[in-house]
């Protein structure tokens, strides 16, 4: 890790921008060469050639690829992602609607996975080769290898259809629909803002299962990483010394291990967070969750490339941004880097 100077910071920002631009180019080209037919999707299967051609021109699809790209880029700088075929709205306003739903889901998921995964990883390392360690390893392995799709269906069968513990697919029960005006777009927050606790509980009962399932995927990774970070610390002289002086496991963890692995953990959490936003795609379909993943999938199905591009760019941007923040926080927080910086 290099020291964090202004030049270094600028270099990283530049790096972020270049990555984003490459993402944009690749997505754009793939989107335009795909054999999808957005024109057909708009004018309908039976439209005559003249109406078809007129729509093609209106969408600018008759222009050479580089010109289309240039026009798209120009719009992008003005905050204009184009119009979505899927909804007829501007893609930007669609994003403002879909993103909070995904954000809410992924945020709750990362909280759950951190709250469960970090202690589990710590315990596994402290009591190495014990029952709890084996348990943690099995949990992590299962979470890593079974598809979200399957977990989602099984979760619904058990907790929703059989036990009746949680609400079903969707963000809220239908008869509450339209009762809370969106402020942040996050139902849990919005319902509390207007003091509708009943709706809050209902929304919570709907989000808890998809969030827990998403969290499980991330938790597997977090548990494994926490365990290995902790093991590394436990073999350090200072920890051995502390334990020799009679520090119990709790004290060892709280005073010695956690502070030293905190920065690494932040990186892991940031990466997981990014993965969650991405992994939400499948979860959203299973749970009929009206977020960015479902929006993107549907857009892809009808060849609505403006919508796909925007969703890809936003998810990609958040992903890169999280990595960037993790990177910077590493440099800022790690005591060893700070030492060098002085």
């Amino acid at each position: 890790m290099k020291e964090l100077t202004a030049i270094e910071l600028a270099r990283r920002v530049l790096h972020l921008i270049v990555s984003l631009f490459i993402l944009l180019c690749v997505t754009f080209v793939i989107g335009r060469v795909l054999p999808a037919d957005p024109v057909g999707a708009i004018v309908g299967e039976l439209a005559d050639p003249a109406a078809y051609e007129a729509m093609r021109v209106r969408l600018g699809l008759d222009l050479p690829l580089y010109q289309q790209f240039f026009i798209y880029l120009k719009g992008l700088f003005q905050g204009d992602f184009g119009q979505a075929i899927l909804t007829g709205n501007s893609v930007a306003s669609d994003m403002l609607q879909a993103f909070p739903a995904t954000f809410e889901l992924a945020t709750l998921a990362i909280i759950i996975s951190a709250v469960v995964g970090v202690p589990l990883g710590l315990a596994a390392a402290l009591f190495r080769d014990s029952f709890i360690d084996k348990f943690a390893r099995v949990v992590a392995l299962v979470g890593h290898s079974i598809p979200v799709f399957w977990f989602g269906i099984v979760g619904l069968v058990i907790f929703y259809a059989t036990l009746n513990w949680v609400g079903g697919p969707g963000r809220i029960d239908v008869f509450y629909e339209g009762m809370v005006e969106p402020v942040t777009g996050m139902l849990l927050v919005d319902s509390l803002l207007v003091g509708e606790t009943e709706i809050f509980w209902n929304a919570l009962s709907h989000i808890i299962l998809p969030a827990a399932i998403l969290a499980y995927m991330a938790m597997a990774y977090i548990t494994r990483m926490t365990r290995s970070f902790t093991l590394e610390q436990l073999s350090q002289d200072y920890v051995i010394a502390a334990r020799a002086k009679g520090a119990g496991p709790a004290r060892t963890v709280a005073h010695h291990v956690l502070p030293n692995i905190a920065v690494q953990l932040i990186t892991v959490l940031a990466i997981s967070y990014g993965n969650l936003l991405e992994g939400a795609v499948v979860t959203e379909i299973v749970f009929s969750w009206p977020g960015i993943g479902q929006y993107m999938t549907n857009a892809l199905m009808i060849g609505d490339m403006n919508a796909v591009l925007a969703a890809t760019i936003i998810v990609g941007f958040v992903f890169m941004l999280l990595n960037f923040i993790a990177d910077i926080s590493y440099a800022v927080l790690d005591p060893r880097t700070r030492e060098v910086a002085r």
């Binding site: 054999p35 999808a36 037919d37 957005p38 057909g40 999707a41 708009i42 309908g44 299967e45 039976l46 439209a47 005559d48 050639p49 003249a50 109406a51 075929i85 899927l86 007829g88 609607q97 709750l108 909280i111 759950i112 951190a114 709250v115 970090v118 202690p119 269906i153 619904l156 929703y160 259809a161 009746n164 949680v166 609400g167 079903g168 969707g170 029960d173 239908v174 008869f175 629909e177 339209g178 509980w201 209902n202 919570l204 009962s205 808890i208 709280a254 956690l258 502070p259 905190a262 379909i285 299973v286 749970f287 009929s288 009206p290 479902q294 929006y295 549907n298 892809l300 199905m301 009808i302």
Partner: protein
């Protein structure tokens, strides 16, 4: 580290609270109907634009038409109280109805709506254009006699009966012209606005539409037939069949469509649910590209017709979705001819291939949308064609790319599906029997037969003749001749199965009756308490 442990406690508290939350009562309220389906293809709720089945189902409740058809396929009055037919056209007398806005429904609204359909000239207009109603003659042919009387002249390419059936279609919905004109931008006939709003005289109004999430309809208390029993109708987007099944079982939704065959099966034996098999008059079809050197040969097409195990597929794959039928007219329609003797006969198919000059067979690709039941259908066809020496390579894709290939004649074999716009031979067969110009330059991608490059001048002429024949008996004879000719030509658009739309309805719901053209009306639907 203090922050960290605080977050830890807060997070843990949130989880505990989550599980302690009062469990929700799932049953839907008695005055709201909740329908679960896939809304993925709903792109517009403008009746003069959208032609997708799910969109039609919603719009049929927002708007009224001059006339309607019921499940028994009779033409009945809706906005028109009565009408007189003469040699030159039809005169309609409107009933006293109002739009949801409060404006009265007048002849001007009817004229505006039909002109709007043809002048916007989207796919929705195809059915009227086919019988000679165009943007440049609609103002002459459709006019208001007085505020409550509309006169529609025949175009010269249709009979009054065929016109009436078209007027019962969703595309002929009557919109509130005053309201729509208030929302016109750049000469778009109010299209941008009407895509997401409603301006009709139907039993419901559009309260909210969030694409791929839900559509909420609200009862129109001033509906001419009286306020509907349901206060709200909610159509929820549930793309996953298994999830939809769970929601139906739990009572979170009342009606489910778009279920997979396997999930449908579980409801057949389950108490408290009714499975409806709604006939569409349409077909699952095997399109063969007659531009392909092998498929251009009628002998090869006949060999293929003898290479498919229709009965076996019907039993194992189609289930509630289809019934064997190789003539593009449902067998219970008037003047429908019996099925030709096409059945799985490997020896006969091989002999036909040898006669055609291909004793060793050949290879073809088969394109299909990856969707129930079409994908399983493709696999079954691959298997049985393999037995007669035709090697099939299946290529699956999503709706837009497969349709694009179909439009561009870029396929060997492809599995599309059709629907019938009216319940008679012409209504379901026309798409299979008319191709006025087969040349590549005609680029007539809107024509189903053109897409298969199947040149059928005689059959096209017969179809046009039948469309113009005013005498019902003579028309019936032409209908029979059309079907016989179709079979004789060894069709490049081979109907495989008559298509049904299966839906499952919770027994609490009364009087929900699926309509053959998706024009299912909901004003009469009631619900009993649990």
């Amino acid at each position: 580290m203090k922050h960290f442990s605080k977050g830890l406690i807060a997070g843990a508290a949130a989880i505990v609270l989550g599980f302690a939350a009062p469990s929700v009562n799932a049953a839907t309220p008695d005055d709201q109907l909740v329908i679960g389906t896939s809304l993925a293809q709903v792109l517009s709720l403008d009746p003069q634009q959208a032609t997708e089945a799910k969109a039609i189902e919603i719009m049929s409740n927002l708007y009224d038409r001059l006339v309607k058809t019921d499940r028994s396929r009779k033409i009945l009055p809706q906005l028109a109280e009565s009408w007189e037919i003469d040699d030159k056209g039809i005169t309609f007398h409107l009933r006293e109805a109002t739009f949801a806005s409060g404006n009265p429904v007048t002849a001007d609204d009817v004229v505006y709506s039909l002109a709007r359909l043809l002048k916007m000239d989207q796919a929705a207009a195809a059915n009227f254009k086919r019988i000679g109603y165009k943007a440049d003659n609609v103002d002459k042919l459709v006019r208001a006699v007085d505020p409550k009387t509309v006169r529609i002249d025949l175009s010269g390419e249709t009979t009054a009966e065929l016109l009436l059936y078209r007027l019962a279609m969703n595309v002929a919905s009557v919109v509130d012209s005053i309201e729509v004109k208030n929302h016109v931008e750049n000469n778009d006939y109010g299209n941008a606005w009407l895509r997401t709003n409603s301006a009709g005289s139907g039993p419901f109004t559009l309260k909210r539409w969030t694409p791929n999430e839900m559509v909420i309809l609200e009862a129109n208390a001033d509906y001419v037939g009286g306020a509907p029993h349901m206060r709200r109708v909610i159509v929820r987007h549930v793309p996953e069949s298994q999830v939809e099944r769970l929601m139906l079982e739990r009572g979170d939704i009342d009606v489910a469509s778009a279920l997979s065959a396997a999930d449908l099966k579980t409801f057949e034996s389950q108490q408290g649910f009714e499975v409806q098999r709604v006939p569409t008059g349409g077909f699952y079809v095997l399109s063969m590209n007659a531009g392909n050197e092998y498929l251009a040969n009628p002998k090869v097409r006949e060999a293929i017709a003898y290479s498919i195990d229709y009965k076996g597929i019907e039993q194992t794959i189609m289930g509630p979705y289809g019934r064997v039928r190789n003539v593009p007219v449902p067998e219970d329609y008037e003047y429908a001819v019996p099925n030709p003797d096409w059945h799985f006969d490997a020896a006969k198919a091989k002999a036909l291939l040898a006669e055609a000059g291909y004793p060793d067979g050949f290879s073809l690709t088969l394109k299909t949308i990856a969707q129930t039941p079409r994908i399983d259908l493709a696999t079954a066809i691959q298997g049985s064609l393999g037995q007669v020496g035709i090697k099939i390579d299946i290529q699956q894709g999503n709706g837009s790319d497969i349709i694009a290939d179909h439009r561009a004649r870029n396929f060997d074999l492809l599995i599309p599906q059709t629907g019938a716009y009216m319940p008679n031979v012409l209504g379901s067969m026309e798409q299979f029997s008319s191709n006025p110009d087969n040349s590549k330059e005609a680029n007539n991608a809107g024509n189903f037969v053109w897409r298969s490059a199947w040149d059928i001048p005689e059959l096209t002429a017969l179809t046009a003749k039948a469309s113009l024949e005013p005498d019902a008996k003579k028309r019936g004879e032409l209908y029979v001749e059309m079907q016989q000719k179709f079979v004789e030509l060894k069709p490049a658009v081979l109907p495989l199965f008559e298509r049904f739309e299966p839906i499952v309805v919770n027994a609490r719901v009364k009087d929900y009756v699926g309509h053959p053209n998706q024009l299912t009306r909901l004003e009469g639907v009631t619900k009993t308490s649990d």
